[in-house]
Amino acid sequence: MTSAAEAARPGPTGSASRRPARLWGLAAVLAALIAACAASVAVGTRAVPLDQVWTALTDPSVHTFAAAAVRTRVPRTVLGLLVGAALAVSGALLQGVTRNPLADPGILGVNAGAAVFIVVGMAYIGLDSPGEYIWLAVLGAGLAAAAVWAIGSGGRGRPTPLRLALAGAVLAAVLTSVTQAVLLPRAELLQTFRFWEAGGIDGARFDQIAQVLPFFIAGAAMAAFSGRALNSLALGDELAAGLGLRVGLVRLLIAASAVLLAAASTALAGPIAFVGLIVPHAVRTIVGADYRWVLAWCVLVGPLLLLVADVVGRIITRPTEVQVGIVMAIIGAPVFIALVRGRRMGEL
């Protein structure tokens, strides 16, 4: 199992010495994630003790307020698991494919692209369920990603983190104007959109999750095979090509899976930023730079972060809730700033 990518990376990052630690760590993260799931169904405006949570979930004949609260939190938790994993993996893929430490579907405007197309679909075509507008979301996310890459690279090879982030911010600003133009004459849509735009997993429904699930699966399937390619890409385009990788095609496929995952998340939960930024960085400090491990860990750490942020958002302003998208931005921006400050000028 010594791929060329790993052979090129000497020392303790090699897989042999780290493998047990990575696996045990993964088990620990899994345990933490299960605890987060339990908290997510138990904690909220109405807190429910864990034994009652259990009876509410196992005994459908119980009809108390507590049981009802728990049952509405189940789809919310499931959606949190899906969206957290998808956004974290999407961020890791984007960071790998652009070789840019600051990539994230939110920062690069991919989520905003999906959101605008969804709004247009709602306003002009009358679509109102995620299963109907997911295609538009994928299209919008793809176009936004392509536009950001075009502006950021400026026609001269690989874009710097600075230019990509700027391109994403400018694109997001344009898309916000477009959204306003569509929404302002439509007061009723403005009302629903205001909540959706903040990005949240409240109001999740299993039927809607099921409609979009195939897109998550497709994106995840493509992502599952990209670890080795990303390891090669990390060595630089020339070396990767020398290792027999078709760089352009691979990059396009990986970007497509990142877009698919981000679009599916946005269709269900609205635009949520910074999960895709924070999680891969946190994971890399534990497992090293091998993308196969980074991706595997992202699948568990992403939901862990999102669910914890969601639970925090339910607690801090009781009896109202802060949506997880807002909590993530408030946690995420300082992390982004710390990452920027930790780097030398030349790397930006």
Partner: protein, 354 residues
């Protein structure tokens, strides 16, 4: 980007000097021409926005109203509604335009306008908090927006400061700060009641609806102080286009110039933002447009202000008079920004294929 510098024939220095002088002369004439043309354009748009609307008045009527004579009907429609609106557009546009150009020069990046690097977002959050949580309006609202903008700029600058000035770090930190403040704004909006939200939402798009003379007074005062201040700083600032080290070598006190420009700029920007709301992309677009108009080597600060005024006035005419649904002006400037972005992409990709 190769600037067209014709190689001076060796040994014929008087001819070369003559060529240089002629070129400088031509550039100066072009600059004057641009300023004149933009001023004329603003005057025309100003008259159009005074005369045309649901009721159309003749320019003579408009001028009589401006001069303070009583004209039945027009005195109210023009004097109380359209004149403050058009004046606000000119003032706010000038502020957005010139401050945007200043920031682009300081940060050496055409995309680094104050609404991208978080300063506008900070002013927005303070203003929306003022509207929804405190019920603020008028001067108090202006004060809060200015404070929000200044504190944000200070925070971003402090976070980015690590020994030497580092513009790319400042831009990135600004983007993150901006997205954090946007989230906080959204949070405040969600918790507000229906009526306040409508007001805050319209305001957030940038709107000239409900402009009054008392409302624009703070902006007018700030601009009469700020624009001369920027003009006084324009020479060192233009020298800084050569790069900070070169400017320092030419005797520019880089750090104090930068601090002064940032301070004046943020106050002007936040006051304009408090008056009209953040009108999207004006501060981003004016610098590049003005720079293209005047050509290389000339200061484009004054032209940027003029482009800003013309852009806001023109966009407001389109938004409120020409479109089927009356939009706030920020929607139109936002779409203009989108067009600019598309042009940028097309130009970049074309350069790639060549």
């Amino acid at each position: 980007m190769t600037t067209t510098t014709t190689p001076a024939p060796a040994g014929d220095s008087s001819l070369a000097a003559g060529l240089v002088r002629a070129r400088r002369h031509r550039r100066q004439r072009r600059w004057l021409l641009v300023v004149l043309a933009l001023s004329l354009l603003i005057l025309t748009l100003f008259m159009v926005s005074l005369c045309i609307g649901e009721r159309v008045y003749s320019p003579a009527d408009a001028i009589r109203v401006i001069l303070g004579q009583k004209v039945p009907g027009a005195s109210f429609t023009i004097g109380r509604l359209r004149l403050p609106r058009a004046t606000t557009a000119i003032l706010a546009g000038a502020a957005f335009g010139v401050v945007g150009a200043c920031f682009q020069i300081l940060l050496r990046n055409t995309l680094a306008s104050p609404d991208i690097i978080g300063i506008t977002a900070g002013a927005n959050t303070a203003a929306v908090a003022g509207i929804i949580l405190l019920g603020a309006s008028g001067l108090a609202l202006t004060g809060m927006a200015v404070a929000g903008g200044l504190l944000t700029a200070l925070a971003v600058a402090l976070l980015a400061w690590q020994g030497r000035g580092a513009t790319s770090r400042l831009i990135l930190i600004g983007i993150a700060t901006g997205s954090m403040f946007d989230a906080v704004t959204m949070w405040i909006m969600i918790r507000g009641n229906q009526y306040d939200i409508q007001a805050a939402s319209r305001w957030l798009t940038g709107s000239l609806n409900g402009a009054t003379f008392t409302g624009l007074a703070p902006l007018a005062v700030i601009l009469t102080i700020g624009l001369p201040a920027i003009a006084a700083l324009s020479r060192p600032l233009d020298t800084m286009r050569l790069g900070e080290d070169a400017a320092a070598g030419l005797g520019v006190r880089v750090r104090s110039t930068r601090t002064a420009i940032m301070l004046v700029g943020v106050v002007m920007l936040a006051t304009a933002t408090a008056t009209t709301g953040p009108i999207a992309f004006v501060s981003l677009l004016c610098g590049p447009i003005a720079a293209n108009l005047v050509g290389p080597g000339r200061s484009y600060l004054l032209p940027s202000a003029l482009v800003g005024s013309a852009m806001v006035l023109g966009s407001d005419i389109i938004a409120s008079r020409l479109l089927p649904h009356s939009y706030p002006v920020g929607v139109v400037t936002g779409i203009v920004g989108g067009v600019y972005l598309i042009v940028l992409i097309v130009r970049l990709t074309r350069r790639e294929t060549v």
